[in-house]
């Protein structure tokens, strides 16, 4: 296999990992006002992802870095082209990340509700915009002969892209609710389960429409298989949830998201950022790639360290495998020191 293809696959895997992992912590963030009515309940929710959300987000940073190294043209065109949506995502990730760390550091209602707002908005915005961005990549945008994006901001908000945004939003919401049902105990667990079924049905409907649309426009046999497995996994996950099997349900939503993303990349290949302009230069795995030498170095590094990373990240999930309930939450730090 060509190294450019290997790196296309690796970047696809990084995005699969990113969405399947951070997807549930976006979901938990979005569900904060719904499932967490008291401060203690909200803390239960936040603590389900406390030890892992930052590690999940690193998948994005590595995907960004890997794109820079393996496909510099793609990195340059994509991030300078989708400028303002990306800025919005960055700001959302900044306030959201800080909110997890700072929220509990003062026992003060105003302080906490502000950070809650940051978590909620900071989770909704990227959950929606990532879908919009990926849909636009698949659909193709106006890229000129110099590989510069020349479409405006509003062009990115077309129906197909908005549907893509709705899909990621609903999928992450469901994935998050399933995760909460798996990781908590008490009333919150049951509410999360009931909610996951409701959002899951909506997510499944939107996902099927979006994936079918994608398949018709740019699909291949391989993407059809991935989309098919993703859809089956999603439905199976929801059935498992109805049967009270939360672990299997989580596996279902996890596989659905990962394979859905895999299908999108398969539908995209060998393009990485197609153009809709007749005289434009679309970006492909060939014309956007770094040299064979750089790809070879990067392949060696990735081959050594990726398994290691997967091992210790999996170990973290094992260490923190226990369910969390309201009575596990200790008294707030700095009690009575509001300001």
């Amino acid at each position: 296999m060509e190294l450019t293809t290997v790196w296309f696959a690796l970047i696809a895997i990084l995005w699969m990992g990113y969405f399947a992992l951070e997807g549930f912590d976006f979901g938990v963030g979005m569900l904060l006002p719904v499932l967490g009515r008291s401060d203690r309940e909200r803390r239960v929710l936040i603590n389900t992802i406390g030890p892992v959300w930052d590690g999940n987000e690193v998948w994005l940073l590595v995907a960004g870095g890997a794109t820079f190294a393996a496909f510099p043209e793609w990195y340059a065109t994509l991030f300078s082209g989708f400028y303002l949506p990306l800025l919005l995502i960055l700001v959302a990730l900044i306030v959201r990340g800080l909110a997890f760390e700072y929220r509990h550091k003062r026992d003060d209602a105003t302080w906490k509700s502000r950070w809650d707002g940051a978590i909620i908005v900071g989770s909704f915005v990227p959950a929606f915009l990532w879908g919009v961005a990926f849909a636009n990549i698949l659909r193709g945008v106006r890229i000129d002969a110099d590989m510069e994006y020349v479409g405006g901001l509003l062009e990115l908000l077309n129906p197909y892209a908005l549907l893509g945004g709705a899909m990621t939003l609903l999928l992450f919401l469901t994935h998050g609710a399933v995760f909460v049902s798996l990781k908590t105990d008490g009333p919150i667990r049951h509410e999360a389960r009931a909610l996951a079924v409701r959002t899951g049905v909506a997510a499944a409907a939107v996902t099927v429409v979006f994936l079918a649309w994608t398949q018709l426009e740019t699909g291949t046999a391989a993407s059809l298989v991935a989309f098919g497995v993703a859809a089956v996994a999603l439905v199976a996950g929801l059935v498992a949830l109805l049967a009270g099997r939360e672990g299997w349900a989580f596996l279902g939503t996890f596989v659905a998201i990962a394979l859905g993303v895999a299908g999108l990349f398969l539908a995209l290949f060998p393009d990485v950022m197609p153009t809709t302009l007749a005289d434009g230069t679309g970006l492909t795995t060939t014309n956007a790639a770094a040299t064979a030498y750089t790809l070879k170095i990067m392949t060696v590094v990735a081959a050594i360290f990726t398994p290691l990373v997967l091992m210790y990240q999996a170990w973290t999930y094992w260490v923190f495998r226990k369910r969390i309930a309201v009575h596990h939450i200790p008294e707030p730090v700095l009690a009575g020191q509001g300001s």
Binding site: P51, D54, G65, S80, G97, E101, T294, A302, F320
Partner: protein, 485 residues
């Protein structure tokens, strides 16, 4: 406004801001891990209290470092897309490796450390913090390798067909001679910064407690933190200076204009003197008053007291012959390869001056607190409370010096900053980004400083028998978590 100006301001603001938090994260992760190790070895709970106290401050600081780092990863593509296209083949690799080796390690093991007090055996728990520290060192290594390549590009070929720099020798990029001196300089400065942070806080507490009882448990604990911290400031400070000296010579060799700009040396001199301060015209072309140390610049630049140091005018001619007439029309007239001289001149002096001042304060503090002495002087108190800011600002000055000193180049000798900016991004978009990020960062700075001050004032929580961590068993399933958000 010119998009180039805006992009430069954004890079300067976001990077200097990011690097306020990074050195403390690098240094403090090692110090917290060290306190924890000292507790495990000695069983002295003072070390445990220090671990927890500085651990909290570390987390407050680390969080901002992490979230502002996200912007760093993406703004090359957003604002500097032509740069990214040109250098991606070389520059992208260390960035990607940094993510894979460093960011995963830091984030995963920090999560384990924060939440793992009662989940992991004590030694394994301590190992998690050491791994976080190792992650910060990896991070520093790869990002500095990328920056060193911009200062002194090696291990690449220029491909005229694709119009970009292509990597030919990864080892040369990783072991660039600029990198080999920059990495120890930056990392030692990070230890120095974190230690100064610790000393400022610990001495403030020590003074309050020793006024009540100089032999109390509290006084003993803060004294330990003060004195170990001050030793680290002093020793790492000497290291920073020693490595910086070698770095100056490498810089003179690979970027002679930067050394001339550091001294605002217009005419070639042999031997060259170093001015402690100069009052001159704003562009630094004429000096009105200067306090100089004879031969010092010769020594800094060449290692001998009578070495020749090339001046800006001569170097401008040399650069013009080597690189042609046009370094980028926006800031530079034809044949002008000179960075902003007042900036390079003063940042160079503030960098060194603040570093030496910090070492002086640390020495004074060590002397004043020797053999159990409890100094009560006002001046020492003020100096030590200000100590954390000295290395902190010295770091910023160093970076501003080295980045401004490289101008007009983004990649020295290869690509100008003016040619690096994204051609497809409008000034409006860039302005929105600059204003948004500056406002967000500004608010976060206020929040962060207030939070730090709250936790600093609160002091180290006492440790009771019940607080001593023990690994939870299945019987403890209903116990509250030892730590929760």
């Amino acid at each position: 406004m010119d998009p180039l100006d805006i992009a430069r301001w954004q890079f300067a603001i976001t990077t200097v801001y990011h690097f306020m938090f990074v050195p403390i994260s690098i240094g403090l992760s090692a110090m917290v891990a060290g306190y924890q190790l000292a507790w495990l070895r000695t069983g002295n709970t003072q070390w445990l209290r220090l671990t927890r106290f500085f651990g909290k401050l570390f987390l407050i600081n680390f969080a901002i470092g992490v979230v502002t780092g996200i912007v760093q990863e993406f703004q090359f593509g957003m604002n500097w897309s032509d740069y990214s296209r040109f250098v991606g083949d070389v520059f992208g690799a260390p960035l990607a490796i940094e993510g894979l080796l460093a960011f995963f390690l830091e984030s995963t093991f920090l999560g384990l450390w924060i939440f793992g007090w009662d989940r992991l055996p004590a030694r394994l728990h301590n190992a998690c913090m050491w791994l976080v520290h190792l992650g910060t060192l990896f991070s520093a290594y790869f990002i500095l390798a990328a920056n060193s390549w911009m200062q002194h590009p090696v291990g690449y070929d220029y491909n005229p067909e694709t119009g970009r720099a292509e990597m030919t020798d990864f080892a040369a990029v990783m072991f660039n001679k600029v990198q080999l001196v920059t990495f120890p300089h930056v990392v030692l400065a990070a230890y120095m910064t974190a230690a100064a942070f610790v000393v400022g806080i610990a001495f403030w507490h020590l003074r309050r407690h020793q006024a009540v009882d100089a032999t109390s448990e509290e006084s003993g604990m803060w004294r330990k933190a003060t004195r170990t911290g001050a030793w680290i400031v002093l020793v790492t400070g000497l290291g920073v200076a020693a490595v910086g000296d070698v770095q100056g010579k490498v810089m003179t060799e690979v970027q002679p204009m930067k050394m001339a700009a550091a001294e605002a040396l217009y005419e070639t001199e042999q031997p060259a003197s170093f001015s402690l301060l100069t009052i001159g015209t704003p562009d630094g072309e004429q000096e009105k008053l200067a306090i100089t140390v004879p031969r010092l610049l010769s020594f800094l630049a060449t290692g001998t007291t009578d070495g020749e140091v090339k001046g800006i005018r001569e170097l401008r001619e040399t650069y013009r012959e080597t690189y042609g007439q046009d370094p980028g029309a926006t800031y530079y007239s034809a044949g002008d390869y000179t960075p902003n001289i007042p900036t390079t001149y003063w940042t160079f002096r503030f960098m060194m001056g603040l570093g030496f001042l910090a070492m002086g304060v640390a020495t004074w503090l060590l002397w004043a607190t020797r053999r159990g002495r409890a100094p009560a002087g006002r001046l020492l108190y003020v100096a030590v409370v200000l100590l954390p800011f000295m290395p902190l600002f010295a770091n910023s000055m160093g970076w501003i010096f080295t980045e401004i000193g490289r101008q007009p180049w983004a990649v020295f000798g290869l690509m100008t900053t003016a040619a690096s900016v994204s051609p497809g991004v409008s000034a409006t978009e860039m302005l929105i980004s600059l204003v948004t990020l500056t406002l967000v960062y500004g608010v976060l700075a206020v929040v962060e400083i207030r939070l730090l001050l709250t936790y600093i004032r609160k002091g180290a929580d006492p440790v009771t028998e019940a607080d001593l961590p023990s690994v939870r068993t299945d019987d403890d399933a209903d116990k509250p978590l030892a730590f929760a958000y």
